[in-house]
């Protein structure tokens, strides 16, 4: 069971390693470089790294994602006006100790290379920009021995604030992803019973079919709960910076709502596959497709069909709760409604098709 979250994480990195974030949106940013020359310590090549940063962010590599509306042509106040009037989507501010912190200048030893990202209210742009900035800063600090990791401070003007690594953004997807595996587990478990004819043996005893299928499903729900805790534990061990006062109860609730769909789809699948092998194969394809379309591991954008996939809503809800502490009905209410309806529907279809398969009472 431990293997699944690990598998998912490696899958996630694989997915990232090979894509340019798959975004369709292009957004406009302005960069403010506060990394000024230090008159007291002219021997430090300040500016150099921040200029490198500016070059990188306006390079070809990001031209499909970013339009740079000037570097150092606005002061913060005018930039915020631009942001408010929707002329730009984000402001990137390079902190004044950026270069020195990277070179660990003795006079600023305790300083961190900080980049601020500010958007109006769009946390998704914030998240995506964070990833890009982290990538650039890391590529710079990689070339400097002993350089500390960059610190990204991101905020919307509305006050939402976060401070993430790539890993943090993946956690909600990993938690939900580890539960979508339960669909496979259920389908495989039932297919195995069928294939080995143990299901038939059980069904020649006076125990009701309903009882048999319920006990198999309950076993998988318990597995799902364990999976959930493993994924959460793993994310903590690997060091997520999710909010300290995350409401885990609600996350657990969302995860279990999502699990209803997993169980339902597992039952539907089990009612027509002939062997455990097929169950494994088909459910893996379904799970993988759902994770991709449901954007478990990518920044939510306009992946076609994502609106019909429970993953989309579960991950969205968990992200909102875990990363932004947003828990209101207006934020995750629709997610909960969708997950409940989808879960109930698939579960009912699953049970009906299972009963039809074993039609005799």
């Amino acid at each position: 069971m431990i293997a699944y979250p690990v598998l998912l994480i490696s899958m996630a990195f694989f997915a990232y390693g090979n894509s340019n974030y798959n975004t369709i949106d292009i957004f406009t940013i302005t960069v403010i470089n506060n990394d000024l020359l230090d008159e007291e310590n002219p021997e430090f090549a300040r500016n150099e790294t921040s200029i490198f940063f500016c070059d990188a962010i306006s390079s070809k590599e990001y031209q499909n994602t970013l339009i740079i509306e000037g570097i150092n042509i606005h002061v913060l106040e005018t930039a915020i006006d631009l942001l408010n009037s929707l002329r730009i989507d984000a402001i990137v501010v390079i902190n004044e100790y950026f270069s020195e912190a990277l070179y660990k200048s003795p006079t600023h030893e305790d300083k961190l290379p900080i980049v601020d990202i500010i958007t109006k209210d769009n946390i998704l742009i914030l998240a995506e920009l964070s990833l890009i900035v982290v990538e650039i800063v890391n590529s710079i600090s990689f070339n400097i021995t002993g350089a500390p990791e960059a610190e990204i401070q991101s905020a919307t003007l509305g006050g939402l604030y976060f401070d993430y690594t790539l890993f943090d953004l993946l956690i909600p997807g990993i938690i939900i992803g580890s539960l979508s595996i339960c669909m496979s587990l259920l389908a495989i478990a039932i297919a195995k019973e069928k294939e080995s004819r143990r299901m038939h043996r059980l069904m020649t005893t006076p125990v009701k079919r309903r009882t048999i299928i319920t006990s198999i499903v309950i076993t998988q729900i318990i597995t799902a709960i364990i999976q959930f805790f493993i994924a959460v534990l793993l994310s903590q061990l690997l060091g997520t910076h999710a909010l300290a006062n995350v409401n885990w109860n609600v996350i657990f609730f969302i995860a279990m709502l999502y699990n209803l769909s997993s169980m339902g789809m597992g039952l539907i699948l089990a009612s027509f596959v002939k062997s455990a092998r097929n169950a494994a194969l088909i459910s893996f394809i379904i799970t993988f497709t759902m994770m991709m379309i449901g954007e478990n591991y990518t920044i939510p954008g306009e992946m076609a069909g994502s609106a019909f996939i429970p993953n989309t809503y579960a991950v969205d809800a968990v992200r909102n709760i875990m990363l932004f502490g947003r828990i209101g009905w207006d934020i995750i209410g629709f997610d909960i409604i969708f997950l409940s309806l989808f879960g109930m529907t698939t579960l009912i279809i699953g049970l009906v098709s299972f009963n039809r398969k074993y039609a005799m009472t």
Partner: protein, 317 residues
């Protein structure tokens, strides 16, 4: 209301079609009195397991009726499940449980009391020679041991009617004997047993009554002796003749002997004949054949021959 049941199992024109063309079971009529060891003998794909699946309430029939102990399999499946024990053809056991746990599982599903099933399980394990290994995981068992567990799981709740679907398939002769002895014991206790097999020796030794099934139909029925009797008594002698002769040239000569029941060819070079006291008078037969013979074998009339005479095929091929 209680009514006297003449036959503990009774079917009328029982059919199961898979799709339009595959007639797995094609109109089977059975009347089995209580206490019978009843065998369904037939080659692979004859429809034996499908028949068992219908009688054990797993598979709904396409048409026809079947009553187990007076209960309709369609309407009173639950009642039937309380009085039957089923040993499926496949190994339907849990590899990660021990033999004991596997058996307990079925006992619990039949709502047996713990003191009852504990004692009974020990007794059953002893009979199958599994006591020493009873607490090992079944996945560590040999194939033969697993089959024995498979059999035990069918009988722990002491059912009135027991279905054994090829219980001894691919067992070595020794394990097969153990299983046969085990089954016989239930016969002695006046349980009704339905056995399927394509092993004619097994059918011959165990059955009180048997039907031969082929392509979903009963092609012969009776006791083993009755069935063998339909072919005439005596020994069966098979041999091949030398390459330049044809069996057609040889047969008329053999037919001339007065103690020969019948003689026929299996292929161009192979001749089979039936003769009373054939073994003792084999030299007389050989004298009539003007060529060298080889691959000579002599055996008793068997159910295999019944099948052969009914279908022109062998049971296993």
């Amino acid at each position: 209301m209680w009514k006297k049941i003449k036959y503990i199992i009774e079917t009328h024109q029982l059919r199961k079609y898979f799709g339009k063309n595959l007639k797995a079971v094609d109109g089977i009529n059975l009347r089995i009195p209580k206490g019978t060891l009843f065998t369904l003998l037939g080659p692979n794909g004859a429809g034996k397991s499908t028949t068992i699946s219908m009688l054990t309430t797993i598979l709904p029939p396409t048409s026809g009726t079947a009553y187990i102990s007076g209960f309709d399999i369609r309407k009173h499946a639950k009642k039937i499940r309380q009085i039957i024990g089923v040993c499926p053809q496949e190994l339907s056991i849990y590899g990660n449980l021990t033999a004991r746990e596997n058996i307990y599982l079925i006992a619990k599903m039949h709502k047996m009391k713990k003191i009852d099933y504990k004692e009974r399980t020990d007794e059953l394990l002893g009979k199958m020679g599994l006591t020493d290994r009873a607490d090992d995981k079944v996945s560590k068992y040999s194939f033969g041991m697993r089959r024995r567990v498979n059999v035990l799981m069918a009988v722990v709740h002491d059912p009135e009617i027991i279905f054994f679907d090829e219980p001894s398939t691919s067992l070595d002769p020794q394990s097969r004997r153990v299983v046969w002895d085990f089954i016989k014991e239930f016969q002695d206790k006046n349980k009704t047993i339905i056995l399927t097999t394509h092993n004619m020796e097994e059918a011959d030794i165990l059955s009180n009554y048997l039907v031969i099934i082929d392509h979903g139909r009963i092609i012969a029925n009776g006791t083993a002796d009755e069935l063998k009797g339909t072919l005439g008594r005596g020994d069966i002698i098979t041999f091949k003749i030398n390459s330049y002769m044809h069996s057609g040239d040889v047969i008329p000569r053999i037919q001339g002997l007065d103690f020969i029941d019948s003689v026929y060819t299996l292929d161009d070079k192979t001749i089979e004949l039936r003769a009373k006291d054939g073994l003792r008078r084999i030299s007389e037969i050989m004298e009539t054949i003007p060529t060298r013979i080889y691959d000579l074998s002599v055996r008793r009339n068997s159910l295999e021959d019944v099948f052969l005479s009914q279908t022109g095929r062998r049971l296993r091929d």
